[in-house]
């Protein structure tokens, strides 16, 4: 079970890479790397869904991907980070944590 949650984190990590790549790619090499990141991220999502309910897996995949994208755009690309964003991120992570706890018990 834990292995599959790790897969979701890997999937979300590569999701952040390709979302960033789609926004900022300027060369063919970067476009190619973006495509590779899409493939790895979906591969990880599919592997995670082997054991986790797909509705849960997809929500966590999207949620963690959004979290990462917001952190990257604040840290690397200087987008503003507000109190509202911080609160929403806290709610999001609480939801992910809740899913992890519940899914462990009942599948």
């Amino acid at each position: 079970m834990t292995k599959h949650w790790l897969m979701l984190i890997v999937g979300a990590f590569f999701e952040v890479l390709w979302v960033t790549g789609m926004k900022h790619s300027t060369s063919w090499l970067e476009v190619l790397l973006t495509l590779v990141a899409i493939i790895i991220s979906f591969y990880a999502l599919i592997r995670a869904s082997e054991a986790l309910p797909v509705g849960t897996a997809y929500a966590v995949f999207v949620g963690l991907g959004t979290t990462g994208t917001i952190i990257v755009s604040s840290l690397l690309f200087g987008e503003s980070f507000s109190l509202v964003k911080g609160l929403l991120l806290a709610i999001l992570l609480a939801g992910v944590l809740g899913l992890k706890i519940i899914t462990g018990k009942k599948g």
Binding site: T56, V62, L89, V96, G98
Partner: protein, 104 residues
């Protein structure tokens, strides 16, 4: 027309999520092809919608349709848990993602 593109994109995303389940059950190349086609169409229509509609809002609506629809599809066709705590947590994650896309 852009709104219709956005709805179509969300619809293909639901089918994409469903085809992940199908692929994991069957593990054949037809299921993989369907999976790639569904997500491919979804991204294509999202891109078309985003030419006119604001990006953050388009993404929020697209994710909203796909994630909630994917969860429903899982419960209806793949016997996934209907535990209210699970649904509440999915709603929390989804609500926060939509909020972040709208304020971001």
């Amino acid at each position: 027309m852009s709104w219709i593109y956005l709805l179509i994109a969300g619809f293909f995303e639901i089918l994409g999520v469903g085809s992940i389940s199908r692929y994991n059950q069957k593990k054949d190349s037809l299921s993989l092809l369907i999976l790639i086609l569904m997500f491919g169409c979804s991204f294509l229509f999202l891109q078309l919608a985003m030419r006119v509609l604001p990006m953050g809002m388009s993404y929020a609506i697209w994710t909203g349709i796909g994630t909630s629809g994917g969860a429903l599809l899982g419960m209806l066709f793949f016997k996934e848990s209907k535990d209210w705590r699970r649904l509440l947590c999915i709603a929390l994650v989804l609500g926060a993602v939509i909020g972040l896309k709208l304020v971001g």
